[in-house]
């Protein structure tokens, strides 16, 4: 169900922008919405980070996969259980660049043996592999797109394009990242659809971004290899947007506006969705804090001054009543008065 609702949502976005642009609303899908989407993304992203930064993280949360630093003669594992800032930076880098936590992913399987079923935990690295492929392809594709956003084209684009099309298949040259990202999105999607356990916990907010990104990639690939959109007209148009002096969208096929609109939808959806793990991963308390709970004194940072009401003061307040009720008191009535 969640899958089909997401699919219908994405198809609706596609149809609205495609037919909208065809009907002459290029200014809406090609200018108004992109500007709104950029503003929405920047503000939403900043707001989200700010709202997270408001939560205090008063103590270390050492969920570790390694031996803590203690005595010299006990070998510790500084990358998994760092006790200094620099090792923690190392752990963060590995997490962000190589998805180390995901590498530890396991799956539960049940072996049927003669003595009945037995549970086993296997390492499951497919998710890690395809997630890694997906993210790096996305990055390369995003960076390659800078040929449309700037003039002269930034220095890194040419090298990326060369490496990406190094097999020189066809013309325009086939980019490996285009093939790989489709394979990766496909895997991540099929995993949710066909693995019963994952499907059970999958929501619209899981399918929708995958399908949206899949739609962006498919429409981009369609433009490059099949319909051959007029790149010159696109660059002139996009440069108009990015120099704040928009030009007419003459001669650009509706499919471009669909591609662009799906990207805008992604930008607007981004800050309010699970995709915010882009910023959130940097704020993970279990990853970004050194495990030095036992080496340093951690003082509660927002510790309020406490008001104490001691037993002595309490007795002073109620001595007469206590004596009257026959309760024992530390200071008898006559002494307390003096």
């Amino acid at each position: 169900m969640a899958f089909f609702i997401s699919l219908i949502l994405v198809l609706t976005l596609c149809a609205a922008s495609y037919y909208g642009a065809e009907a002459g609303m290029q200014w809406l899908f090609g200018m108004t919405i992109p500007y709104l989407a950029i503003a929405g993304f920047v503000c939403g992203f900043a707001y989200k980070i700010y709202s997270w930064a408001k939560s205090p993280v008063p103590f270390r949360i050492p969920t570790t996969g390694g031996q803590q630093y203690s005595h010299e003669w006990i070998k510790n594992d500084p990358l998994d259980n760092p006790h200094t800032v620099s090792w923690t930076v190392g752990r963060m880098l590995l997490e962000i660049l190589t998805f180390r936590s995901l590498f530890r992913n396991t799956e539960v399987v049940i072996h049927r043996t003669e003595d009945g079923p037995r549970v086993a935990y296997n390492s499951a690295r497919w998710l890690w592999l395809f997630a890694l492929i997906f993210h790096y392809c996305f990055l390369v594709i995003f960076l390659r797109h800078f040929r449309f956003f700037m003039d002269p084209v930034p220095f890194f684009v040419r090298g990326l394009e060369f490496m990406d099309g190094i097999f020189q298949i066809g013309a325009p040259r086939l980019y490996q990242t285009d093939v790989l990202i489709l394979a990766a999105v496909g895997f991540l999607l099929l995993r949710r659809v066909f693995d019963q356990k994952v499907r059970y916990i999958s929501l619209i907010s899981d399918y929708f971004p995958l399908l949206l990104i899949g739609g962006i990639c498919l429409s981009g690939i369609y433009m490059r290899y099949l319909s051959k959109t007029d790149i010159n007209a696109v660059k002139t148009y996009v440069m108009g947007l990015f120099t704040l002096s928009p030009v007419s969208a003459e001669g650009i096929a509706p499919i471009f506006f669909m591609h662009l609109f799906l990207v805008c939808a992604l930008l607007l959806y981004f800050p309010w969705s699970k995709l915010m793990h882009l910023g959130g991963v940097f704020l993970s308390p279990t990853r970004n804090l050194p495990n030095d709970s036992r080496m340093r004194l951690h003082v509660n940072p927002w510790k309020p001054p406490k008001k104490y009401h001691t037993y002595e003061a309490y007795e002073d307040d109620f001595r007469e009543f206590m004596v009257e009720a026959g309760l024992p008191v530390d200071k008898p009535l006559d002494k307390a008065d003096a």
Binding site: P56, G170, A233, T243
Partner: protein, 127 residues
């Protein structure tokens, strides 16, 4: 806000990078001119309609190369029955005589670097 001294710079750097094309183009007062093609003066028609050519020239040349080199097919018949040599140098470049003013004017602006010229010698007009 906690740990602002780490989070704020991170946030500013990220948003700065991701919006780089926008503010850089605006601050540097970039003005983009669509490339102007130097079209042949003495010719009226291309071997295919110019509009199709604009989209499909790379596929066509790629096909030509494969047909010529692998299948020994050496001529191309246009829609109007005219027969041309399948040759980048002798057909295309005989009208479009200047690579810099024709091919490159779009290619460079859009970061397209075809490997045609790793084998073929680019004509440079009358120089």
């Amino acid at each position: 806000m906690y740990n602002a001294k780490y989070i704020m710079p991170g946030l500013v750097i990220f948003l700065g990078l991701i919006t780089f094309p926008l503010w850089f183009n605006v601050l540097s007062c970039t003005r983009y001119e669509a490339p102007q093609l130097a079209l042949p003066e003495d010719q009226q028609e291309c071997i295919i309609d110019a509009k199709v050519m604009r989209a499909e020239h790379m596929t066509l040349l790629n096909d030509w190369r494969d047909k010529y080199v692998r299948d020994g097919e050496i001529t191309f018949t246009a829609a109007n029955g005219k027969i041309y040599d399948m040759s980048l140098m002798n057909t295309c470049m005989s009208c479009h005589t200047n690579k810099e003013q024709f091919c490159d004017s779009c290619h460079t602006k859009n970061s397209v670097y075809p490997y045609c010229w790793e084998c073929h010698i680019a004509p440079r007009g009358n120089q």
